[in-house]
């Protein structure tokens, strides 16, 4: 909140870190118009990205998720004119800011300093944490996110949410959380295994 700026990479640098995506003309057109301050274009960006953003924030800081989302958008607004990159880079940028806000939030609350996902948050939720016995069709996206987050330690939650909800690559997540890609993969493997055991305890071997 009060720290000085850190020289971090520009969003565009992330391009190519993950699976190749078609340059999305709709996104690029909307980005350009949004950079010129056109509301319709901002709305396009909002609709494309706020659902995942809010999903992430609701999992990480449910009581202030909407507030944090607004702050993320405003932070992006202040830098939007200077943004260069594709939609993937845009997303990475957005979640980098979002993650910071989550960390700041918990830091201000005097809780975890490095792990922004206190488990009690999830345990407090009336989440259907056992989808194996329920109709998955009825599982809302947010409930699914909660189910993913409910049974993991914070470091694994973070990686899983950034990969599943934010849609970031291992490399992007690694850069964001300050770990090596290999370390992220280890965390991710642990998380997947743990989740599989939870969702299908009888079927997971080993």
């Amino acid at each position: 909140m009060s720290r000085g700026p850190e020289p971090e990479p520009r969003p565009g640098r992330h391009a190519g870190a993950g699976p190749a995506e078609q340059p999305d003309q709709e996104f690029l057109a909307a980005l350009e118009a949004a950079q010129a301050g056109q509301d319709w274009a901002v709305a396009v960006l909002f609709r494309r990205h706020n659902p995942r953003l809010l999903r992430y924030l609701r999992a990480q800081a449910p009581e202030v998720a909407e507030d944090l989302a607004s702050e993320v958008w405003m932070a992006m607004a202040r830098q939007l004119v200077g943004f260069e990159g594709d939609e993937r880079a845009f997303r990475a940028w957005m979640f980098t800011i979002a993650r910071r806000r989550v960390i700041q939030h918990w830091r201000q609350k005097g809780r975890r300093r490095t792990s922004p996902a206190p488990n009690e948050v999830f345990f407090d939720r009336a989440a259907p944490d056992d989808p194996s016995t329920e109709g998955l069709q009825a599982l809302s996206a947010q409930d699914a996110v909660a189910a993913l987050a409910a049974h993991l330690p914070p470091d694994q939650v973070e990686v899983v949410l950034l990969r599943v909800v934010a849609g970031l690559s291992v490399e992007e997540v690694a850069e964001m959380v300050g770990k090596s890609p290999g370390a992220v993969r280890v965390t991710q493997h642990r998380a997947l295994r743990r989740l599989a055991e939870h969702f299908s305890p009888e079927a997971v071997t080993g």
């Binding site: 720290r3 010129a36 599943v164 997947l192």
Partner: protein, 301 residues
């Protein structure tokens, strides 16, 4: 809660490779294709990536209004908060003109004064600039001294710079000389394209709007006084000023023109006020658009 196995053991028993893990996490892996025991996880992952819910879009109106307002109000230069609040309104052309005003004017004057603009541009620029008291016709006159920085040319004067550039742009388009003569690489054009429209691609629409909405020069002199009370920007157009208290969130990406230091005292921006800003944005927008309406339209011929 803590990992039960050490990493090597766990990795060796993980039933699929990195690529499969990536596909599982990205939702590309169909549950039916998942390794034994991972089908339900794959389903949950896909559910977590499901379409937007209504509540996830509920903030659209407030966020879009606040973001749009903030973007229009944040130039590559830094207007004073007061000026920004009182003058900038909804009309994108007016705001963009203000945004790029000083730098564009500087570039235009410099380019035109040295005669470096190709003929049509030089002509158009000289016409436009002369209307605001800057004589650059065919490079024989000195340029207006203080217009590049510091003397607060204000929205109207700056608008003319853009107006002139857009006239030049249109002239080039008409003459089919847009890509020749190096004008595309001129400082003035680059600044116009970059600062005002975010790229050359949008310049046509930008200029169309500007030329359609811009007041003629002869009528502006009188009303421009209303704007001069607040100096546009103290001449540091392109300094990447990272003074803002919010540099930390934005430090994330370091866009080429970190200009958020103008955020100081405007409603929709302090980090902790961002939400309030979003909710209040309609008020600010209304006030600003009122102010802008007078500036922008009263000068029509």
């Amino acid at each position: 809660m803590s990992p039960k196995r050490d990493s090597d053991d766990e990795m060796s028993r993980f039933p699929f490779d990195d690529d499969t893990a990536d596909r599982l996490l990205s939702g590309e892996l169909a549950p039916g294709d998942a390794p034994p025991g991972y089908a339900r996880l794959a389903e949950v992952v896909r559910a977590a990536q499901g379409p937007a819910s209504r509540s996830e879009l509920a903030m659209e109106a407030s966020v879009v209004a606040a973001v749009g307002e903030a973007v229009r109000s944040i130039p590559g230069i830094r207007p004073s908060p007061n000026r920004r609040k009182s003058m900038l309104g909804k009309l994108a052309s007016a705001k963009i003109a203000a945004i790029a005003a000083t730098t564009v004017l500087g570039g235009a004057v410099a380019a035109a004064a040295t005669g470096s603009l190709p003929a049509p541009a030089q002509h158009a620029a000289s016409v436009a600039l002369s209307q605001v008291g800057i004589n650059v016709s065919d490079g024989s006159h000195g340029h207006g001294k203080g217009h590049t920085h510091g003397t607060a040319p204000g929205l109207v004067g700056n608008k003319h710079a853009e107006y002139g550039l857009c006239q030049a742009y249109e002239a080039h388009v008409s003459a089919g000389t847009l890509a020749t003569g190096g004008w595309l690489n001129s400082t003035a054009f680059q600044t116009l394209a970059t600062e005002a429209t975010g790229g050359q691609a949008g310049l046509g629409a930008f200029c169309t709007n500007l030329l359609a909405s811009a007041p003629t020069a002869s009528n502006d002199a009188g009303e421009s006084g209303a704007d001069h009370g607040k100096p546009a920007n103290p001449g540091k157009s392109h300094k990447p000023s990272s003074a803002g208290t919010k540099a930390d969130d934005n430090g994330t990406t370091e866009p080429s023109e970190p200009s958020e230091s103008d955020n100081g005292s405007v409603p929709a921006q302090g980090e902790t006020h961002a939400t309030a800003g979003a909710h209040n944005s309609s008020v600010g927008t209304g006030a600003a658009s009122t102010a802008t309406a007078g500036v922008t339209h009263s000068g029509r011929p």
